[in-house]
Symmetry: C2
Subunit: 401 residues, 2 copies
């Protein structure tokens, strides 16, 4: 009798790097920084409508929303972007009532081409306005039913490559098309991702720090099963949501040893959640890591005026402080108070400013971090078998309606 | 030598009930269902402005936002409600640009009266428009600096009782004043809370089930340190945020045995987060309980039209289904798929409809549940000592500016 095993072996940085380079050949998102943007920009140039409505859900909207929400008040955008993503009837009705459908381009995005939420909403839109090649464009896989629909109706369609998963698809047509149409500089987005790509694959300093972080998060996964991203700008609220999907859906898996894995993502906003979640971080159980994200330059000179309010004179020390200074000092105070505790793992990412390259670099960094954690956890980051059972149950419920 | 101890003893349902009844004498939120609403309604009647801007953060805004967000599309409201709650300069600027300040009532809400975010924003508003008794009202403690300011300027002020904590204050002036002004039926809100109050304190069936739930969550706190609220309506997004503050800030504490406690709240929205967080619930580590919240009656007849789209004929089975049916069947499918797994604690709350009493009852139930969990955990649900250190550090950083 002979028996050998090594269960979850420790994997070296070099082995991980080798595997990631191998994975780069088959997993599409790695190479999206080098997407040819010509077709998106050309299409965008000819869009006449003022309103752009993305119909999609999950990976088809979250990344686009993250970038749009981050930049929209800092760019002089020519068009407005809306998202129809849920089956909540009150949500659909109230959003549609606020949009002039006659002056709207619909972008229907579904990788599989048959996403129930997306197609239900699109059918509903069809009952309100004629959808044709003049006001509808499709983003889907090359051989989906939605592609057949587009072809049958002579509509323009853009492809989501089969090897690009929804939650990793923001730098494909899924994100680049709607963002180009509303006036975001998509080449600048890609430049942000290219920098991160090169720093990683050329094994610059970034390579070491992100590997160290992934290794830490996975090695201490039983101590710290919750990873809090604490973003100090309301503009990062969309990024937080995107992170939650990326992290939760990629890392919540059964590993090669049939053991359940999963790191739980939480996204909070500073300073708002100092008045909420921070108490739990500081005094609660030590089951969380904290990543604080700061914006170095808000490019905004709003400041607290030099005004004294009778009865509130003790707050005069706030006078003349710029709000961008205040929020960053609030972040620093939170970081210092967490680090003073000594037993909460905490790191700080400071992005340069409210610009395309900064948000794109942050997102691409998180995609790489997710892939690395998955490698250390011996799981497949790119599938989502756990949600299939619910879909089958739903279909049965609906068909026997 | 003698030694006796009993560490965390098990506490009986009756003992908890006795303690809660005792606590009711000193902790103010318990009795808010019986608040006299006359003054709020009278004040509301005389408000001429079309825009209502609440300046506040955390407990001063989250509950009001939760109720407003839930109801605003289902009520014919006469005024619009906005919240200025963060120091993010881009957020402040973009929100203020969208509001006609000449036609705005400002409600400045701060329990302590010196909340940095709130007063910084209010100072800024003062540099844009003259704030006086005609356009500004204050909600604060009876002896705060903000109260002195209001008195000095002859402004109306409403009191937050000292024994009502911010995160438990939604059914005091904090929530009732702004909600009454925009046209929400605040008496109906209170009727919803009174029903829950009576069911609990008269030990009806609800009493047993909520005690059972609290006991379960605390007894299994080391197995399931994460409590997911999965709300099947986008209208409950504000409720989720409110829940996160209530749960995190109340239960993240050091207990009487000097042991760190804390149950981590997560709020997600269905069906959107079926395409995100659900994978982690289903296949990830068994460290989560799930509470699904459904809305029984959306009072909305939007449905998927009887339309066939060429190429997409296989989706014809969706035709004629009401969206309210679809979203509830999606919830049911998720519940069934989770329950089929057999090892994820899951309960389902179905609220009656999109109405005042339903949301208020849900919120009051969660307040009681929080108090019960705190009792089982031997912690004080009503303080937040963990955030003080950061405030002191911040003040130093700002004063040496």
């Amino acid at each position: 009798m002979e028996y050998r095993d090594n269960f979850n072996p420790t994997i070296s940085d070099e082995d991980v790097f080798t595997e990631i380079k191998k994975e780069r050949e088959s997993i599409g998102y790695y190479n999206l920084p080098f997407t040819d943007t010509t077709l998106f920009k050309e299409y965008a140039k000819n869009v006449k409508q003022s309103n752009i409505v993305v119909i999609g859900i999950g990976g088809s909207t979250l990344g686009t929303y993250a970038i749009y929400k981050f930049l929209k008040h800092s760019r002089d955008l020519s068009k407005k972007l809306f998202f129809l993503e849920t089956t909540d009837p009150i949500d659909i009705k109230s959003k549609i009532e606020a949009i002039d459908l006659q002056d709207t381009l619909f972008i229907v995005i579904s990788k599989s081409g048959t996403t129930i939420e997306t197609l239900s909403i699109f059918k509903y839109i069809n009952s309100l306005i004629k959808c044709d090649k003049h006001n509808t464009v499709v983003v889907t896989e090359s051989d989906s039913k939605l592609k057949s629909y587009a072809d049958a109706n002579d509509m323009v369609s853009f492809e989501i490559p089969k090897n690009v998963g929804g939650r990793f698809s923001v730098f494909s047509a899924v994100g680049l098309l709607p963002l180009a149409i509303v006036g975001i500089d998509i080449d600048e987005l890609l430049r942000g991702t290219q920098k991160v790509y090169n720093d990683f694959f050329e094994q610059k300093e970034f390579y070491s720090r992100i590997l160290k972080k992934a290794r830490f998060l996975v090695e201490y996964k039983y101590n710290f099963n919750i990873n809090v991203v604490f973003s100090y700008s309301s503009r990062l609220e969309g990024f937080n949501k995107w992170y939650i999907q990326l992290w939760g859906e990629s890392l919540g898996k059964v590993d090669i040893n049939a053991t359940r894995q999963g790191l739980t993502p939480i996204g909070i906003i500073g300073p708002i959640d100092q008045h909420s979640f921070l108490q739990l971080i500081v005094e609660g159980r030590r089951d969380k890591t904290v990543t604080v994200i700061k914006v170095d330059n808000f490019d905004n000179d709003l400041k607290i005026p030099d005004i004294e309010l009778e009865g509130l004179e003790e707050l005069n020390y706030l006078n003349n402080i710029a709000f961008s200074d205040l929020i960053n000092k609030q972040a620093d105070a939170t970081i210092e108070s967490i680090n003073n505790l000594g037993d909460i793992p905490c790191d700080v990412i400071t992005i340069d400013g409210v610009c395309e390259s900064a948000i794109a670099a942050l997102m691409y960094e998180y995609e790489l971090l997710t892939s690395l954690c998955a490698k250390f956890m011996y799981i497949d980051a790119y599938n989502q078998p756990g949600v299939e059972a619910g879909k089958i149950i739903l279909k049965k419920k609906l068909e026997t309606n």
